[in-house]
Amino acid sequence: MEILTIGAKFGVYIVMALVLVFALGVVTLRNLFHSALCLAAVLVGTATVYLALRADFVAAIQILVYVGAVMTLIIFAIMLTEHLGEKTIRQTNRQSPAAILGLLGFIFMIGLVILRTPWPVTKRALATGTSVMSLGKALMGSYVFPFEIISVILIAALIGAVVIAKKDPEEKS
């Protein structure tokens, strides 16, 4: 049976690689719409990674919220702001070399940390996946306060977004 696990592991690595490629796509593609779609691909990829980490509820939510809603938002925004058919002009600004250097340093340092520290892996956590029941209990139990606050913030963001995006009455353009 360990072949399957190896296969699965292999599958996960492939997914990770794909996600990274798509992420690069998001960042470098000249056409904004393409980068948005790459983002969708990245999101679905991360959902599969969650499945690999036995967090299937979060994966489902990720797809439902991110791919369903946020992507729609982004695409709407792109459609409303992008000049249809206009030749896409240079997308990256001048500070890319500095940014890349910084990033390499960053990756090196954090990578060093990750590789060097002995991550404690508890047996119990490895075994069981989290059932949705325990998640629900936690949400409604010890995390009920953040849960309520998140709902308030969501409402606020909702109203805020509408107000900001709405065209002012006297502004006829």
């Binding site: 600004n93 500070q95 500095a98 940014a99 910084g102 340093g105 960053f106 340092m109 954090i110 060093l112 940390v113």
Partner: protein, 649 residues
């Protein structure tokens, strides 16, 4: 201690008159005189019954607390004992008469109301002095009198001589006053109280208060200093120079102040503090010597004087000398009695001289002559007063002078007795020299037209004449020396039996004087010049007033002015020099500072400004406006932090 509080009205009424005259003087015009006379008359009316009661043995005193200082308190009040009663009696009567006379004499003077204001103020001060019961109130009144004498002497301040005279009078009396102030303050430190009655009790040993150790040396000092006050005020030997010059004032003033009352205040002071002097016996010889010297010297100068008022001034000084000698010889009764009688006839003499001047408008007796017929009332009253002054028996002068001579003779001071007799002779001589030159003989100056003074002036003259005749009786044997016994009630002092010898000597001396004067100035007028050539030095001495003025100016005034000039130059050079010097170098320093401030401080500030601008130019680049630049900087910062955290750097 029955209290007669209404006595307080006596000093207050003249004071009210003073205020009325000062404030509403211009509107009152001639009515100002009636106001002053009225208030003095009323004061006199109030005072006489009280004095009469005191004459019959009553004794009034009352105090109110004037000032409470911590535990001690200052009591002001009045004391009516035999001494103050006599003085009050004398002052009120003489004062009122003189004011009546003055209302006539001063008629037509532009500053009429102001004159009567000053006179009323003087009256109120004198009355307060007389009835006051402690040294401080006494001293306050004493000072106000000094002020009034200054104001009244300098009444005709247009005249240069008057201004100088009042200034001179004020300064010399001030010297005496300072002594008097120090005196009663040392007394206060010695016996702790200022009130006369308490002092008398302490000195007599009958004081019931807490026993205290009284340092005798302090008492001696106190008495001497108090006597200085008398010397200053009563124009005794060293400080007598101001009285002759004080004649610049109007004659009623001279009469009131420089004959009857103010100068008498000095003698009254000694009388008032007689218990102190009695307690310090060895001071008395000093007092007597001063008294005799003044008497002899003044009389000697009066011999050769030609101004009518100056002669009377010198005679006053010599009579004051008499009183001081009397008191010096422990003859309290004699001194006070002579004081009272002298007040009456000396006032009369001055008023007489006043009416003569009023009539002839001339003061020099050499220009007068044969005025008897033209001014009969003035002449007769004048002659009566002169007889009293010379000491002819029935008149008051004889009794009081005789008392003093008796005290001198009986107490064994033969030298003093001799000098006093000689002075008496000289007094008689110069008085009658004056009379014969003015009233008898031929009119020397043709264009002098004398006329009799009006009734308002002659009536007071006659009143005073009668007074000077009558006032002698209480002290004379006719009333069994009532006055001396009356005085003895107050303080105990040695009394002597009247001796016929002393009386005889004084009468002979008086008659001799009158005779000699008559001979020289009526019959043999040539002898006058001869006597001058016979004793040239004495003549010149007498004429020039023993050169006292010159001496003073030479030895006191000049050095002081010299010192003043030196101090002034010193001040000019050193002090002002220092001030200007500091001014200069502050200026220099400020210029220096200004340069420093300009270049260094401002320089620094500008430098800071430039520095910030320079740094700004560099840092400004950072704010590019691009959001992503800021993100990059933040990220790099974050990176550095991680690196540091991981100890890589």
């Amino acid at each position: 201690m029955v209290s007669a509080d209404h006595i307080l009205w006596v000093p207050l009424l003249p004071f009210a008159a003073f205020i009325a005259n000062i404030l509403a003087g211009r509107r009152l015009k001639h009515r100002a005189a009636w106001l002053s006379v009225a208030t003095s008359a009323v004061a006199c009316a109030i005072a006489l019954p009280v004095c009469w009661a005191v004459f019959h043995g009553a004794h009034f005193a009352n105090q109110i607390t004037w000032l409470a200082i911590g535990k001690g308190s200052l009591q002001f009040g009045y004391l009516m004992d035999p001494l103050s009663a006599t003085l009050l009696f004398m002052v009120t009567i003489v004062g009122t008469l003189i004011q009546i006379y003055a209302s006539g004499y001063m008629a037509g003077d532009p500053r009429y109301s102001r004159f009567f204001a000053y006179v009323s103020l003087f009256m109120s001060a004198m009355l307060t002095l007389v009835i006051s019961d402690n040294y401080l109130l006494f001293f306050m009144a004493w000072e106000i009198m000094g002020l009034c004498s200054y104001l009244l002497i300098g009444f005709y301040f247009e005249k240069e001589s008057a201004a100088k005279a009042c200034f001179k009078a004020f300064l010399t009396t001030r010297i005496g006053d300072v002594g008097f102030l120090l005196g009663f303050l040392t007394l206060f430190t010695a016996i702790g109280t200022l009130s006369f009655s308490k002092m008398n009790a302490i000195m007599d040993g009958t004081y019931t208060g807490p026993a205290m150790l009284i340092p005798v040396s302090l008492l001696v000092a106190a008495s001497l200093l108090i006597f200085c006050g008398t010397i200053g005020k009563s124009a005794q030997f060293p400080l007598h120079v101001w009285l002759p010059d004080a004649m610049e004032g109007p004659t009623p003033v001279s009469a009131l102040i420089h004959a009857a009352t103010m100068v008498a205040a000095g003698v009254f002071l000694v009388a008032r503090s007689f218990s102190l002097f009695m307690a310090v016996r060895d001071v008395l010889p000093f007092v007597t010597t001063i008294g005799t010297i003044t008497a002899f010297m003044a009389a000697f100068i009066a011999l050769t004087q030609t101004d009518i008022k100056r002669i009377l001034a010198y005679s006053t000084i010599s009579q004051l000398g008499y009183m001081v000698t009397g008191l010096g010889l422990m003859g309290l009764g004699a001194g006070t009695f002579h004081l009272t009688t002298h007040a009456f006839f000396k006032a009369l003499l001055f008023l007489g001289a006043g009416s003569v001047i009023h009539g002839t408008h001339v003061q020099d007796i050499r220009q007068m002559g044969g005025l008897f017929k033209k001014m009969p009332h003035t002449a007769t009253t004048f002659i009566i007063a002169s007889l009293a002054l010379a000491g002819i028996p029935p008149l008051s002068g004889f009794w009081s002078k005789d008392e003093i001579l008796l005290t001198a003779f009986a107490s064994g001071n033969i030298l003093v007795f001799g000098v006093l007799l000689l002075t008496a002779f000289m007094t008689a001589f110069y008085m009658f020299r004056l009379i014969f030159m003015t009233f008898f003989g031929k009119a020397r100056d043709p264009h002098v037209h004398a006329h009799e003074s009006p009734a308002v002036m002659t009536l007071p003259l006659w009143a005073l004449a009668i007074g000077s005749i009558v006032i002698g009786i209480p002290g004379s044997p006719f009333m069994h020396h009532w006055f001396q016994k009356f005085m003895a009630h107050m303080t105990h002092y040695p009394e002597y039996e009247p001796s016929a010898f002393v009386m005889g000597c004084s009468i002979t001396v008086a008659v001799l004087g009158i005779g000699l004067a008559g001979v020289i100035y009526l019959k043999k007028t040539a002898w006058a010049e001869k006597t001058a050539s016979v004793f040239p030095t004495f003549y010149r001495l007498s004429l020039n007033k023993f050169y006292f003025d010159e001496l003073y100016s030479r030895f006191i005034i000049k050095p002081f002015t010299a010192i003043g000039r030196i101090l002034f130059s010193f001040d000019e050079a050193v002090v002002d020099g220092a001030v200007n010097g500091t001014g200069q170098n502050t200026l220099f320093l400020s210029r220096l500072k200004n340069w420093f401030d300009q270049h260094v401080v401002d320089g620094l500030v500008n430098f800071m400004g430039a520095l910030t601008y320079f740094l700004n130019a560099i840092v400004k680049r950072l704010q590019t406006g691009l959001v992503q630049n800021y993100m990059l900087f933040a990220f790099l910062g974050f990176l550095a932090f991680i690196a540091w955290q991981l100890k890589l750097i």
